[in-house]
Amino acid sequence: MKTLENSFGRVRIKEIIGGRGFVCRLADLGLAPGQVVEVLSNGPPVIIKVKDTKIAIGRGVARKVIVENAE
């Protein structure tokens, strides 16, 4: 399965696995289904770029964000 942990470059977020609090916390940082983000480094920690902001996320979090190739 393709997640933020094992992908690189521009990807689109498909699904976020986790409880309500977790999903909302990621949404506050700009990580929500449908969003296109750029993975800059696989780390750990994984570094991604969401719009104009860089965000560092731990491996455990990255594993729960399922992505697909951005066309």
């Binding site: 976020i16 309500r20 609090g21 999903v23 909302c24 916390r25 990621l26 949404a27 506050d28 940082l29 700009g30 929500a32 289904p33 449908g34 969003q35 800059l40 480094s41 780390g43 750990p44 920690p45 570094i47 969401v50 719009k51 104009d52 902001t53 860089k54 965000i55 560092a56 996320i57 731990g58 491996r59 455990g60 979090v61």
Partner: protein
Amino acid sequence: MQNKIYLVAQPNSGKTTLFNLLAGENCYVANWPGKTVEVFQAKIQHHGKEILLVDLPGINSFKTLGREEELTKEFILKEEEGVAVIILNGESLYRSLYFAIQVLEMKSRAILAINKSDYLDKKGVHVNLQVLKDRLGVEVVQISALKGSGINQLMDRIMDILEGRVKTKKLKIDYGALEQYIVRVEQILGDRSLAIKAVEGEEEILALLTEAQRSEVEKIKKEISQKFANPEEIIAVHRYKFVEELLSSSVKEVRVAKASFEERLDNLFFSKLGGVLSILILFSTLFIALSVNTGFPLNLIMRSIGYHAFAEILEEYSLAGMISMLFGSLSHFLDQNFPDSVLKDLLTNGIIAGIGAVATFFPLVLIINFFVSLIEDSGLMTRIAISMDRFFAIFGLTGKSVFPFGVNLACNVPGVMTSRILESDGERLRVALASPFVICQARLLVIILLAVFFLTPPLLQSGVIVSIYLLSTLIFLLATKFYGKFFREEKSELLLEMPPYHFPSLRIAWWITWTRSKSFIFKIAQFLLFFAIFAWLLEYFGIAELIGAIIARAFSPFGLEDPRIGFALLMGFFAKELIISSLAVSFGTADLVQISSQLSLTIPQATALIIFIAFYTPCAATISAIYSELRNYKLLLFSIALQLMIAYSLAFLSFIFLSFL
């Protein structure tokens, strides 16, 4: 009616800078009823009108259950008359707007201030304020809190709202497929923002309803959950869509910024070299901070290369040296000029010693807070945290824990305090509770002295000290994992936004340093004074010697039953430096060579003693600091028991190991 405005923002948006600019010197910390969060307030004037300015804690989101989030949310929902000043971070408009629209859904009396306009100018970003204003239904102003621009305009608009000259309205966002359900819940609750929150699944909202209302809402929620797996996700997606449309119609980038020095610095931090670079930065900062405070370790270096006079000046004129000299001469003065009495003894040996202890901590707390705020403000903190994350993740901590750990190497008191920079409450308390296991500078001096005089082989001296350091680091890390059991959080995950680098503002760094240090010192001062008087009572009534004898009994398996050692260890519980001075008093000499020959300890005995001293409870001040973070007596007592137990077992193991050799 009082004019009230309050600042709402995410961290890194420059809220503190704006507050500082508006409040000037008139600020004070307000104790919020029933809350442990500190809220800054100030009375300010604009065109002769008095306004109460409230600085709500910076929060990332309204969903997490931290005490800061709770307070901010409560404030926004309940304060009907005040105006919410929502500060947007110009560096990350997208995320700030996502935050802002959530406030605007709850609150109509609000104004948006897009901060860091200087940064936007530099990057060639143009924001069409009129478009934002039309779409959001509130006033929008562009400011730079750092440069002080746009502030007057902001205040004028705020006055317009306060005095009813402009009308604002609550924001309404279309939630697509969920809309029909939201409308139905709204009919029950009578308020759209509450309805959205209920659909998002916020339990607190449901608690406010009557039985009948709640069952109605629960019914609708059930319908939703049958159709949608994750309603809160749908809400988030719609909010982002709204923000995206908003930004594409209002923001134009004129120039495209090219990969810069900052990008290259970031890449360096994310590479394998990042960890090395971070450690270099941290240790050189620590080295400077310590040398200013006590002269150590710079004095040792100067001495070893032959500059004895310079080393002495360093020791004498270091901050801690000057303060202890001042309090020493104060007690001496009282001792000389007043007749002997219980009161004089209490004053000189109890109270002044206690206040002196608080005072000697103050410069170190101040210096460390200053460096931490510089590193925080410059954007370096996140990079260092990221480069250290790989290592700390092994123990279920985030890379940010390297800061409290590093400060703990200097002193556990500011170390415990630095744990506040950690994002989650669980990680913060785990690190605070485990802090005493990190060997601080005061303990280092005591164990160096004892090692030098009690252990003759030089190889053994350094061997013992190095193993103590390695072992203490390991125990600290394992302890943070262990304490996780109490907070249902054995693993904390990094989730950090990276602010752009900038040169830290000294004015702001100083302000943060001063307010943080001041409130902290007042908090621990009462505990320290209590401990100082308690220790004095024990000593004055001869109870201390009794306890010393009991402690010595516990050490009889090592052949250390001398009550004078037991007494020194008891005093060491209050402050580690007291071990040396109480040994000196009870042996009647300050010469450690003589003390050592009188005790004539074997190598296993001396090593066991040194190891016990290194690992047991560091000092009363650290206990006070941990309590002010933890607010839980039981857990605090448990942690002290754990420290004593670990110290005793390690001493015992080393004793047996060395006896067999």
